[in-house]
Point group: D2
Chain length 327, copies 4
């Protein structure tokens, strides 16, 4: 198929390249001419404006947006929409809030422009490993675009198949892409994916923190252990219950330098972790682990917190306690 | 009554003085001669050794230990026990782990020495305000020592009585002291008291942290508020659902300096908060709030944590994310 | 002053009565004629429609809305606004989301209608005890309405004044009402108040849960305690660090029946607890305690959760574990 | 090598069989003659008593205990120790608390009996997949027993090697077994492994709970999604950031029956999750995620909690709120 790709950062560029590697044609645009040049060298057809990209695509057009979520994506859609015709499709492959997808699909439908939201997981490893895709929008459109999705997805590879999957289940899931439901559902599933990711990362983080801090001299002497974290991460990759791709990465990082001294420990967060907590709150579903993982990221950048100081102030009031470092 | 008080720090000294203010006699000892001198000037009978204190007390002797929990208290009991006679009573008014009380009571009972554990709340304000007492041990001994407990407790004061308290309930609770049950139960109740205290403090801390941070420039401009925290604490003392003694203290601290800049925010913790979490774990009772309050104290002294760095390292692996301060 | 009160439920009725008790005049309206009748009997001037209430008020009019938050309040404002003149004031005393206040103030300002948001704490005890008021809107309007606020607030009563409050602080805080800042800030402060309330309630709940479950027969026999929770709540009211109004209520409830068997334990929540967590997320402020308190309420109504079943299913997969009740 | 295996439940039996499959000889004992018979049929040398097993082993003897942690293991060690000679080795492959290992190693060393603690992960799949081993004890003993450990471990298999592992790291980690350090360290590492496992399971559980509950009719109609959880689990196995062995199991379970209606949702817990939280508390390391995961298991078996009822009781006091199911 021939498809427009708008936004040629790391993710967008990899998506265009993976598509072209399998014979699809890409018309590409980015505000950075340098980014466009990089992809045209890899075989893409460059465009020097949104209008030029739209012009270069056969109808019904398909445009894949891979832009920073929020204002940048909103503006691009606002600018593109008037250039499109009934039957054209806009795909947002970024990390939009699913409520924005629902709204956009509704608005664009008034002009018969079709909207799809595709949650994309895989990070910088995706060009090689394939991207896991979670797709929302109209089902017939998802079927029409199946060649695109099938190409981007990792395929079955050497991952064992799940015993007992019946014929009522969607065989595309085993290829690494899934039609989830109406507009918004793709990003909703991706959002929860990221929420879980935060939870898993925090679980490993807390566990390794406990391992790391088993040498403290306030512990009984024969209960102190000076553990090799790189070896522990490695051994857990092999036959343990907690093996995972995130653990693979952890093992790489700790093999490089198990002190991690090059990191400040200020952990950023993107919108999905927050939206997952908001969704839990909206749905009245308890999410202690996912919210604790999010708050730990906030806390890592919020030091000392005003709340900490307030606790010290209260303790100073009721007990004349002075602050000491007592661990 | 005539009673020995061992350990004349802030709490022990106040206890001796409150007893003597009401006509009890105190034989006092401390490893600091200066501390002893201070209480003898207030009317106490000073002793220059444990043995001298024991000697000076009428049989059956009653000794109130007000020492740092753990080794210091253990050593004092080990040293005292051989000097005591059957029927004498040792009271630990410090912050012992209730499991230590159970063990000590069992051991001392072999020599017919009686043991009581008394959890004491009230902090530095207790001499004037009275101490809230939670008492464990043998019931007949608690009755024998009632004059001591009644003196130390705050009494009804001007606190309204609770409607509907039936005659089956213990009238001493309204005086601010309570016989809780067998050895260990006094400190168990005190331990949970402190666990709750941590939870309440953290609830206020988080709330004020949210109020404080409502000026951030990434918020919509008309949704930023520059709030006066001292006034908010004060108004909440008056008719709100969350009025409390801890809020009274908060209001004092914020009235002094609502920036709290003199505090580093490193919040110490004593054993009770930890033991409360351990008890919850032992009993299989969920305690998300009490443990979060404890962990926030740990976190305040543990910055940046190794776990934070590990999360940064994983993110660097999977996304090439660099650390940024994005709040 | 003469003021309209719209919504005569428990809170609105008490507000009207407390105003009239102090000599203010109230024009009152409710969709329930019975509710209107009750307040007219207490001295109010009844109206049989919104229009009639508006008509009966002197200009510039002041109307206090005390309606369920959300749609009901939104509809009432939408219906009222066209009947009002420039300079009239709408006060929302319900539990609006502060973002709705900001929007409403902006919209109403286009027609020179003034908007105030007043967070009200005090529950059913407020008529007698007074209401703690947190006020947002234009400052000059807050001053104009000072007689109303001063009447509703509890006043200093016999609550001790906070030492060290300087003259730069607002003396009204000591009367139990506070001008917090522009539109939305009153409900924002009230929202955080409720968030803290959830946290405190959960802290007590977890603590009493630990006390309650200290009789389990898997515990060592001499470490089991059969504690009197009613007496413990009572003794903690007297001189302890965790005395509070919520503890007063706890003591009343436990004095009535310390088994609490009449309660199912399904704990409802209103919007403020949720919005507090959303605000923490929006502001990137960690709020582990407040969110845990909220999630515990969700969890109390969500039993067994699908997540619980999923954990059982995973355990069944990896270990052939069958579900057992092992606490 | 020739080794004794004591305790022939699922794990012990699989360990004996995997050893014999690779040419090691096993003398086996269990209190169940039937269990012994099953392994002798598979090639093991049965013993009808502890003494007979000890007798049948060449000196220095090596005995692998695979018994329920706690009393059963303690009793077996107490009974065995007097039958052993200096230089013999006891291996505890069960789930002991690492503090028990430290104590036992100290006690047995007095009689020159050597002790090793081996944390074993892999569940029922281990005979085929291999067991991930975390080994504590004396290093020379671990080297001596290397043939045993190498056989039980999964080996490198088709798991990719971690780039950048230097020669200073232990090559055995890549084979799936690791010498962690002195006595106790093996079970300590295994304990933290299980703590992380609880955290990961809870992260998935909360995420799927949010996905599951996206059909609630209080949500906006176009924001409700009826998602296929079996397909989502499957697609996440393929190229997503959160792929893991636990997710593989989740996908199997959901493929069988995505309602999970056959499960009650009462999630058991074994000691390691609790000990991990206790270790975090002892070490003053924050562990909000791991403790939330543990408490969620408690909560799943504790419904409604007394704490829930207490919150209802307080709300009834202050607001006359009646319990309603408002989600």
């Amino acid at each position: 198929m021939k498809i427009g790709v708008l936004g040629l950062g790391r993710m967008g560029g990899n998506i265009a390249c993976r598509l072209m590697d399998s014979g699809h044609e890409c018309v590409v645009y980015d505000t950075s001419a340098e980014a466009v040049r990089r992809i045209t060298e890899a075989g893409g057809q460059g465009a020097d404006s949104l209008a030029a990209m739209v012009e270069a695509l056969p109808k019904p057009r398909t445009l894949w947006l891979m832009l920073p979520a929020g204002e940048v994506t909103e503006n691009a859609i606002a600018e593109l929409a008037p250039m499109l015709d009934a039957g054209d499709t806009l795909i947002d492959g970024g990390n939009a809030n699913f409520k924005d997808d629902v709204r956009r699909a509704r608005t664009l439908a008034e002009r018969d422009i079709r909207y799809m939201d595709v949650g994309v997981s895989g990070g910088v490893w995706g060009r090689e490993r394939g991207f896991c895709l979670m797709i929302g929008g109209e089902q017939d459109n998802a079927e029409r675009l199946d060649p695109i999705f099938a190409t981007l997805a990792p395929g079955t590879g050497d991952i064992e198949s799940t015993p007992g999957r019946s014929e009522t289940l969607d065989p595309r899931a085993e290829q690494g892409y899934l039609y989830c439901g109406p507009a918004g559902s793709g990003h909703f599933v991706k959002m929860v994916h990221n929420g879980i990711e935060y939870g898993m990362m925090a679980a490993y983080a807390e566990g390794f923190d406990i391992l790391k801090n088993r040498t403290a001299d306030f512990l009984p002497e024969d209960e102190r252990f000076d553990l090799n974290l790189a070896d522990i991460a490695e051994v857990w990759r092999r036959g343990s219950v907690i093996s995972s791709w995130l653990l693979d990465l952890t093992s790489i990082a700790l093999a490089e330098d198990q002190s991690l001294n090059e990191f400040t420990g200020e952990v950023s967060d993107s919108g999905e972790g927050r939206w997952t907590v908001n969704a839990a709150v909206e749905q009245a579903v308890p999410a202690n682990v996912l919210s604790a993982a999010l708050f730990a990221r906030f806390r890592s950048r919020h030091t000392p917190s005003f709340g900490d100081k307030l606790q010290s102030a209260m303790r100073n009031q009721f007990g004349g306690h002075v602050e000491t470092h007592n661990d």
